[in-house]
């Protein structure tokens, strides 16, 4: 049984499984069609593997914003594989590419996409990232999900800088029926966090979701401020923050790697939320972040609705990405066997 078939069988079990798989396939529709069309096209046009073939493959991957170094490595590995198998047929490496993708996404079992939620007591989750990636929206969506699970959720309005940011979080608080701890615009975000953690503890909340102002990672002062915010949380709750989630816009290019690296250094990021992956974004950069920095993607934003934020599943992602390309191939080979 082919590797891809295995994946497919895995997801056609329970109904719930199928539903989320559908969300992936639907959310990645645009991504997939662009990507797999190009792959199909590539394999259709090349009868043998040569330098041009690899250059085009390189372009397809880079076109999906897969990190630059990751692509170069992947290509090198494939070249090696071609030598090892002593082949020059493109079909021979087709499946290896998917396998390598899934490998990078899911290769290390220790890198789970599960959130570190405490069984008892307060769980604090800190959200960080550059401007405009969707931190506040992500918090709103997550608040909704935790609330639905029956958890007592609170929000901390730590973006005291951007105009209207506090109000934006408040709207989410109202929509989801969750308390928001805030101060006025321009106040010290560390002080807001202090208040919020205290309030969350005294009110017996299960989950505290902490918003912070967007900041570009090369602004040293702002990164220091973020460290201070984190220290305040650490002081008030031992072991907290239990998760530091870096929110990354899936349309970001190579800069996402620098973002991940710098934010990881400053705040010890434990996971990535890849937003705006619906649309046309390919989010290939997530591959590179995982590979080069060892930070797993924990959630992906696949649409604007409240439940469009999904826990990230590497195998499903790969399935979504390659579904079309491989279903076609599967049916072709099935036809051949029938004949």
């Amino acid at each position: 049984m082919s590797f891809f078939k295995k994946l497919k069988d895995k997801f056609s079990g329970s109904q719930e499984q199928e539903q989320t798989t559908e969300k992936y396939t639907e959310g990645l529709k645009k991504t997939r069609s662009g990507f797999s069309e190009k792959m199909n096209n590539l394999f259709a046009r090349y009868r043998k593997i040569d330098e041009d073939f690899f250059e085009e493959l390189e372009e397809i991957l880079i076109g999906a914003d897969v990190g630059f170094d990751t692509v170069m490595e992947l290509i090198d590995e494939l070249k090696l594989e071609v030598k090892r198998q002593n082949t020059n047929e493109p079909e021979a490496i087709r499946e290896i590419i998917t396998e390598k993708f899934v490998d990078i996404y899911a290769g290390d079992d220790e890198m789970s996409s599960e959130l570190n939620i405490q069984d008892t007591g307060l769980t604090v989750i800190l959200f960080v990232g550059v401007n405009g990636v969707g931190k506040t929206t992500t918090i709103g969506k997550l608040a909704h999900q935790f609330k639905t699970e029956g958890k007592k959720v609170m929000l901390a309005a730590g973006d005291t800088f951007r105009a209207g940011a506090i109000e934006q979080l408040e709207v989410w608080g109202e929509r989801t029926g969750v308390d928001v701890i805030k101060q006025t615009e321009g106040s010290d975000p560390a002080a807001v966090m202090y208040d919020a953690v205290r309030a969350a503890k005294s009110r017996g909340a299960d989950i505290l979701l902490c918003d912070t102002a967007g900041r570009l990672q090369n602004k040293v002062n702002l990164m220091n401020e973020l460290q201070k915010v984190k220290r305040v949380i650490e002081r008030e709750v031992p072991e907290a923050p239990h998760e530091v989630l870096l929110v990354v816009d899936a349309t970001t290019g190579q800069n996402a790697l620098i973002q991940a690296k710098t934010f990881k250094e400053a705040t010890d990021v434990s996971g990535i939320v890849l937003t705006k992956l619906d649309g046309t974004a390919k989010g290939g950069i997530a591959l590179a972040i995982r590979k080069e920095l060892g930070v797993p993607v924990k959630f992906v934003g696949l649409g604007e609705k409240m439940d469009d934020l999904q826990p990230f599943d590497a195998e499903k992602y790969a399935y979504g990405l390659f579904a079309q390309a491989f279903e076609q191939k599967e049916s072709e080979s099935a036809d051949e066997t029938a004949e």
């Binding site: 880079i62 076109g63 401007n131 405009g132 209207g164 109000e167 934006q168 570009l216 190579q254 390919k282």
Partner: protein, 450 residues
């Protein structure tokens, strides 16, 4: 990992190979073009755009320019930079004005690109630079508190903001806003629209309707400068559906290479009009194609620095100076001369900015060069006698007092300059002996004006 190499570093390997051969072949050029291609891809320039671009550069390079050059590496960089600049450049960052006021400007783009902030910045610029009276229009009814955000910006700027809450259609809001501007004799209407995906037909339709009824003079596509390969699709689609008139590139104060700028320009042909350089409301700047080119290539603006130096530095004088440095006979007269030459190249902090990697170098990124301080240094030197300038050793405490009085400075300042001058001479000696031995060692001492 993540060594974001600039084109210059990339080309070094190839150059070494060529140096051994002494002649540039076509396959050498091909190899160089591969490095050009990789450098551009790494800077997020779209791969299709890269392909066309490299083809063009390659044609020029295989010709006379590069192959006949003694410094083919630099020549390739020069060609690449020229082509990049030409591709991105041309138009000035002007804002159109309608024949009959008010002039309508629509701000469009994806979610999180920075439309609302840019709207505030643009309004500020219109008032400050062009003495206009803008009306800010809150037409983003979808994102929670987007209206509030614009209202807060309006308050900060002390400018009127038009909003009708989030229950009225953006088309209606735009219509009424224009009427309001007419009534209040405001001459610009800046419509802040909601972020949307370019493939969202319903929302794109809404923009088309707003366009139809408001006949905007400008439709600015606001794009995050960190955008990757997808930038072309976004720009192409917005342009096809709305006919954008220009692009505003935001968050350029970050450390992205910003290849998206090139991609967008290449596929839409529309000019990049402004760049966002910070979170404050006055941080909207003109777009400089040649700076953007350097940035994409990961190098400082060395070329204009070299050009500036060439036009301003007298070559025979430079040779003389080099001789003097070697023999340690560098005097205050020479120093004054040097200072004059450097200053004729332009403000010093601008020159510093042109140095490659200067923005990354710790300490150098926020060096404030105090032009006044240079003036004081000059005053001190000019207060010395001819002998003192030639032989600083003779300046005793009596002379120091006189020099301080004569230049209107303090003895401490005179002392400091003398000490620094000594250090500088020592460094020059080190450097010239280093050059001879070919070793690198030691750092730069502080120059008297830093």
């Amino acid at each position: 990992m993540m060594a974001f190499e600039g084109l210059a570093e990339r080309l070094q390997g190839t150059m070494q190979k060529i140096r051994g051969k002494g002649k540039v072949s076509e396959s050498d050029v091909k190899e160089m073009m591969r490095e050009v291609r990789l450098a551009l891809l790494e800077a997020d320039v779209n791969f299709k755009v890269v392909k066309q671009f490299v083809k063009k550069v390659s044609e020029r390079s295989v010709g006379q320019e590069v192959m006949k050059s003694l410094t083919p590496g630099q020549q390739v960089i020069k060609v690449v930079k020229e082509e990049l600049t030409a591709l991105m450049g041309g138009e000035e960052s002007r804002i159109g004005t309608a024949k009959r006021p008010p002039t309508v400007i629509m701000m469009v783009g994806l979610q999180g690109a920075g439309k609302t902030t840019t709207t505030g910045k643009l309004a500020n610029l219109l008032r400050k630079k062009y003495n206009r009276k803008p009306l800010l229009v809150a037409a983003d009814i979808y994102r929670p508190a987007a209206i509030k955000q614009l209202e807060t910006l309006g308050k900060q700027l002390d400018m009127p903001v038009f909003s009708m809450g989030d229950q009225v259609s953006p088309v209606e809001i735009a219509k009424q806003a224009i009427q309001k501007a007419k009534d209040d004799h405001l001459d610009y209407v800046l419509i802040d629209t909601a972020g949307r995906l370019h493939i969202d037909e319903g929302l794109m339709d809404e923009l088309k309707q707003i366009k139809e009824l408001s006949s905007p003079e400008e439709i600015f596509l606001v794009v995050d400068s960190m955008t990757g390969q997808d930038a072309v699709n976004v720009a192409e689609s917005f342009n096809e559906q709305l006919g954008i008139t220009g692009v505003v590139l935001t968050k350029l104060d970050g450390d992205t290479r910003g290849g998206a700028a090139l991609s967008i320009r290449a596929v839409t042909g529309k000019p990049i009009k402004f760049v966002g350089m910070g979170e404050k409301l006055d941080a909207l700047e003109q777009f400089h194609p040649e700076r953007m080119a350097s940035r994409i290539l990961g190098m400082g603006d060395v070329l204009s620095l070299i050009e500036k130096a060439q036009t301003n530095v007298d070559e025979t004088k430079a040779k003389e100076l080099e001789q003097k440095m070697r023999t340690m006979s560098f005097t205050f007269d020479d120093f004054l001369d040097q200072l004059g030459q450097v200053r004729s190249m332009g403000p010093l902090d601008e020159i510093l900015k042109m140095l490659p990697g200067a923005n990354k170098m710790k300490g150098l990124n926020n060096v404030q060069v105090d032009e006044k301080q240079i003036g004081r240094v000059e005053a001190i030197i000019r207060s010395m006698t001819k002998d003192e300038k030639q032989q600083p050793e003779i300046i005793n405490s009596g002379r120091r007092k006189r020099i301080a009085r004569g230049s209107g400075t303090s003895i401490q300042e005179v002392n400091r300059l003398l000490k620094q001058f000594e250090d500088m001479k020592k460094m020059m000696k080190q450097m010239s002996s280093m050059q001879q031995k070919g070793k690198k060692k030691g750092g730069m001492p502080k120059l008297p004006f830093m």
